[in-house]
Amino acid sequence: MSTTKQTIRNSNANEHKVKEFPKLVEYCLVDQVWSDGIAMRKKAKNDTLPANLKPVEPGSEEDILTRIENKSGKIEGLIKEFKPFEALKIALEDSPPQDERCKSANWTVVHKALMAIKDVEGMLLSLDPKYYDVLMKYLYRGLSTGDPATCYRCLKIHEKLTEKAGFGCIIRSLADTVNTV
């Protein structure tokens, strides 16, 4: 398994080396990225962001819905050109949106891309490990639809994804109640 190690070293990291005890400070991680078990180093921010773990969505719901529609168009194009792997990648980009309507819209897009995948092994080889957790969440959403064709496809992908990403991926998709799909 090839892995890419990236170190993001903040140049200001050495500023506050004085061991003083400050007053009440709160931290949360703005973004967490997973790269095949190797962590991306992120600096926790000092200002009080709301305690959620995803990037703050720029733009309103309408903007997000428009973006999802654009994605949908691109994906249909790619599927026609027999490039389902790229289609899935584009579908999974942007962490799951917060709003219910956006979630449903995004799910439709991801569903289209998933149904077009025939070669599951190849797809997983080409997929960036940081999308494993999100993909697993969408698989469970697919399985919950009960539609035989969707379920069959999702089950096949689930088996291969579990082989690749392990039980930890399943656990994370269950435990994450903040970024649901």
């Binding site: 190690k5 990291a13 400050p22 009440l24 400070v25 931290y27 926790a44 089950l155 690749k164 392990g166």
Partner: protein, 377 residues
């Protein structure tokens, strides 16, 4: 093999602690007692049974220099046991809790101990010589849910706690009269008791098993979402790393050195995490033997049957005939490991530790022969 000794003591062990000379081990066999076993001529003999608690004993710690045992239980009490002659004499410590106590740890100087509880608070207890009893001061603020783990910083003042609200917090437990005021840290900004220094909101699920590195520079804790978090430079601007791994969640961690952490949990096998030269933490390997998987889920132990049925729908032709035996052969533990303790030894490099789990076994591990891990020790 990294596991040097395996002892089956009971059906299930909730927690364990070693005596200062490592000759005796105290543990709770999933009931309201604390059993102390001593190693006499290659056999473990039960030498004491400490019976004072009414409910499950959830935490035991044995102080290294003063030879005192502190035990906390679901009956909301804690006792400090002193050895007088052949007997252990308990002293009740009134914690004023209205929920179970979940974890306990002696401070590095052993003049205080911290108790995490289901009442969403942490009790810091210290000894008052004039009245000859233990007083408890409670940190009531900040926690939104049960406190599952406590860990003392080497400076005896900072305490890190993990909670089921997913957050890890660091508090100051400076007590006048017990802790000496350090002039070099600047007396004007001396922290008050119970003041929160930092709150780390890295996990969206329950957090367990927090520990400080030997120098106190790094903090590590695990989340129930199969992730382990490493935080450097705990203070105004910490650097946090999330490491997601492929396996089942962990329950406890231990710093073997500045650069190596052992995590234990539901995979029944200790996992080694190490920091490379650039400061990135990552999963190295399992410590114990583990059957290599030819095709992921099929060779997992109790999962193979379930997965066979799960995927049976999509594999009409194939029969799920490879039903593996229910035990992972070669692994030391059969069930979840929920406690890991360091074993002190002569010499500066720490290499031995012990784990206990829900299978009732205490396993002693030695890193001496693990060549690939030498560079991290």
């Amino acid at each position: 093999m990294a596991a040097v000794a395996v002892h089956q003591f009971a059906q299930c062990i909730t927690c364990h602690a070693w005596s200062p000379d490592q000759s005796m081990v105290a543990f709770c066999p999933n009931n309201n007692e604390v059993h102390i076993y001593k190693l006499m001529q290659d056999k473990w003999e039960k030498v004491h049974v400490l019976q004072k608690h009414d409910q499950l004993v959830s935490g035991i710690d044995w102080s290294g220099t003063s030879n005192r045992i502190v035990s906390v239980s679901h009956d909301r009490n804690s006792y400090v046991w002193n050895q007088e002659g052949p007997e252990w004499v308990p002293t009740l410590v009134i914690l004023r809790l209205n929920r179970a106590a979940l974890c306990v740890q002696w401070s590095p100087k052993e003049n205080k101990f911290a108790v995490g509880s289901g009442a969403k608070n942490v009790c810091i207890c210290y000894y008052e010589g004039e009245n000859n009893w233990w007083v408890s001061k409670v940190i009531r603020k900040k926690h939104n849910s049960s406190v599952t783990g406590v860990a003392w910083h080497p400076n005896n003042i900072l305490l890190a706690t993990t909670s089921t609200d997913g957050k890890c917090r660091v508090f100051s437990t400076f007590i006048k009269g017990v802790d000496a005021r350090e002039s070099k840290t600047g007396s004007s900004s001396d922290p008050k008791f119970g003041e929160q220094i930092v709150q780390l909101d890295l996990s969206s699920s329950w957090a367990f098993g927090v520990k400080w590195s030997p120098s106190g520079n790094t903090l590590a804790y695990v989340g129930h979402n199969s992730m382990i978090y490493f935080v450097d430079d705990v203070g105004p601007s910490p650097l946090a790393q999330n490491v997601a791994f492929r396996y089942l969640p962990l329950r406890d961690v231990l710093f073997v050195s500045e650069k190596m952490v052992i995590g234990v949990g539901y995979d029944c096998n200790p996992m080694v995490f190490a920091m490379d030269k650039s400061g990135l933490w990552s999963f190295i390997r399992f410590l114990g033997e583990r059957k290599e998987s030819s095709s992921g889920p099929k060779s997992g132990s109790q999962f193979s049957e379930a997965f066979g049925k799960f995927y049976g729908q999509s594999r009409q032709g194939l029969s799920s005939d490879t039903v593996e035996p229910s035990k992972i052969q070669g692994a030391a533990h059969d069930n979840c490991i929920n406690c890991i303790e360091l074993l002190k030894q002569q010499g500066s490099k720490t290499k031995r530790f012990s784990t206990s789990g829900m299978d009732g076994k205490v396993v002693i591990w030695d890193l001496e022969n693990q060549q690939d891990l030498r560079e991290y020790l």
